[in-house]
């Protein structure tokens, strides 16, 4: 196994390469205020990050990744366009697999640039591919933007679309909602009686708690409205299902998705962006004919990615986490930017895993 100084030396070398590509070196505190992370990720983050606290500053987390603080820093003081690189420790709780590290070094590269998103996508991906050259890795790519476009353009109520959008990253719940909205699954027992009642709140229980009667009534009204909304059509449903299952090399995936766009024309602008990205990758010498694209890729990872996503995986080593991951997170800059936003993409590489694979190859 590689030792810490070997890993640090490799990280420093990779950071120099990112600097040569035009990035500024940045660093962030190890302790991050927990509020922001909890706001973005919800309770799940507690299962992944170490939480600590003191009486003065309240809850804080040991940095689970760099992206969030780097985005915050850029939104408050950065000039644009901007390119940043960093390397340092991140911490992840491990409760299921004792073989996974709970502390490791990440080397990252982030680009904030509004001029040419396809070019920035290709820049980050090809720089990563260059850093990882020679290792037995398989690259996977996807595009969360195609999924969100498909959902946003469904011919159904705004409430249903918002609910589907909220659960895009929870495939099981997404499936349940989709089945319900397509009229394939009935609501819970007694639901109709509740919605038919003249005064659904007239029950033998006192009103307690912070969720008050008007909120309960509002949800009942929403359920009543939803009951009369027509189901999502078979065409749209079939289109969505085909879309979610697209798994091909990039040019063929684009071709299949263009077929899906016959039923779901709303994804066409996102497909045009995918096409532009393919051209930009090709222009940078990436062999797109051998690059995998999975429409569902990235759906179970961090919630902030909303466009191009990618990862590099060790061939024949399913036990290892991805050696590198990254993606576009335009919406995150909007959330953290107080009304200001800028298209952004970035990713991280794990030098420890690179060294481990190199050792194994010898």
């Amino acid at each position: 196994m590689p030792n810490r100084s070997q890993i640090q030396a490799r990280a420093a070398m990779m950071r120099v390469r990112f600097e040569a590509a035009g990035a500024h070196v940045v660093d962030t505190p190890l302790l991050q205020p927990a509020g922001m992370l909890l706001d973005l990720y919800g309770e799940d983050i507690r299962a992944r990050a170490y939480v600590t606290s003191d009486a003065l500053r309240g809850e804080q987390m040991l940095r689970p990744d760099f992206t969030l603080p780097v985005v915050q820093m850029h939104m408050s003081e950065g000039a644009e366009p901007a390119r940043y690189t960093y390397s340092g420790e991140v911490f992840r709780r491990q409760e299921h697999d004792p073989d996974r590290a709970n502390e490791y070094i990440q080397v990252g590269y982030e680009v904030f640039d509004r001029e040419d998103p396809a070019g920035a996508d290709a820049e980050v991906f090809s720089l990563f591919a260059l850093q990882l050259r020679g290792l037995p890795l398989r690259a996977a790519t996807g595009d969360i933007g195609i999924l969100t476009a498909a959902v946003a353009g469904l011919k159904t109520t705004d409430r249903r679309k918002a609910a589907l959008m909220r659960h895009l990253w929870r495939p099981r719940r997404f499936r349940v909602l989709l089945d319900r909205y397509a009229g394939r699954k009935p609501g819970p027992e007694g639901r109709d009686a509740l919605l038919d009642a003249a005064d659904p709140l007239a029950i033998d229980a006192p009103m307690i708690g912070k969720r008050r009667a008007p909120e309960i009534f509002e949800r009942i009204e929403a359920l009543r409205e939803d009951r009369t909304a027509p189901p999502i059509s078979d065409n749209e449903l079939a289109g969505l299902e085909t879309l979610l299952n697209v798994r091909e090399t990039m040019p063929f995936a684009l071709e299949q998705l263009r077929d899906v766009a016959v039923d779901l024309p709303q994804i066409t602008p996102a497909l045009d962006r995918l096409e532009a990205r393919i051209a930009a990758l090709q222009a940078r010498g990436v062999d797109v004919d051998r690059l995998d694209f999975e429409a569902s890729y990235g759906r179970t990872s961090m919630e902030y990615y909303d466009g191009f996503v990618f990862g590099f995986y060790a061939e024949g080593r399913p036990d290892l986490p991805p050696v590198a991951t990254g993606g576009r997170y335009d919406a995150l800059t909007r959330q953290l930017g107080d009304g200001v936003e800028i298209p952004a993409i970035g990713g991280v590489i794990r030098p420890d895993l690179m060294l481990e694979l190199e050792e194994a190859a010898q």
Binding site: D44, R46, P188, P200, G209, K210, R211, E218
Partner: protein, 229 residues
């Protein structure tokens, strides 16, 4: 060396555990005064009784400081990640039965399932600017259950006792807690979600997979297991 058996140090759980072993011809008792946490074992040689708080028994099994221990399934699953690799279930003891469940105010007529809870959480966050709070002491079990069910926009708040009262006091909107008859829930105007059963628990005899067993201890373990079977 002798085989170490950990048993809850007080209350009904201790009494019922003693009664259960009695049926197998093994008499457990507290030695000396009621305040002393040392025990006596009669009816089998080379077993020593260690009286502990039920909450500490999972950790003692996991570190291997005791070979056998009696405690609830809920505590083992909550306190020991990957518990299967650390302990083995020897026998359910048939008492201390309780369900870990999720309950909401009974007045939430629109909430019957986890699906409803998730929708209510989304609306609640929008209306109040913070996530829907669920009071519990079973953080890991509840989080894993809700993650698996795809519930979002909630947060867990710690409650080590009188959890049912948190809703009325408005320090939480819902609870996840152990219940056996549901009486306390009803008295506090709470109802159980129809698909809100997280775990069915009861007092159980566990064997540590971590503890070292010398030949003597191995022999007495086999004898004991034979007599319990």
């Amino acid at each position: 060396m002798s085989l170490k058996l950990g048993v809850p140090s007080k209350g009904r759980l201790m009494d019922k555990t003693f009664a259960w072993f009695e049926k197998c011809g093994i008499a457990l008792s507290r030695s000396g005064s009621d305040r002393e946490y040392a025990g006596k074992v009669e009816g089998i040689d080379n077993v020593s009784l260690i009286l502990l708080s039920a909450g500490e028994i999972p950790r003692e099994l996991a570190t291997g400081r005791i070979h056998l221990g009696v405690t609830g399934i809920d505590l083992v699953h909550e306190k020991l990640p990957r518990w299967e690799q650390q302990v083995e279930e020897v026998a359910p003891l048939g008492f201390g039965k309780a369900d870990l469940i999720i309950a909401t105010p009974a007045c939430w007529v629109d909430v019957d399932t986890l699906d409803d809870l998730d929708a209510a959480a989304a609306g609640f966050r929008k209306a109040h600017g913070h996530r829907l709070r669920i009071a519990t002491k079973y953080h890991r079990l509840v989080r894993e259950f809700l993650t698996d069910a795809g519930v979002a926009d909630y947060t867990l708040v710690d409650s080590q006792g009188a959890t049912e009262g948190t809703v009325v006091n408005e320090t939480a909107e819902a609870i996840a807690d152990i219940t056996s008859t549901g009486e306390t829930l009803r008295a506090n105007h709470l109802k159980i979600l129809s698909d809100g059963l997280i775990l069915q628990s009861q007092a159980t005899l566990w064997r540590s997979r971590i503890a070292k067993y010398d030949p003597d201890e191995k022999a007495v373990l086999n004898e004991l297991l034979d007599r319990l079977a």
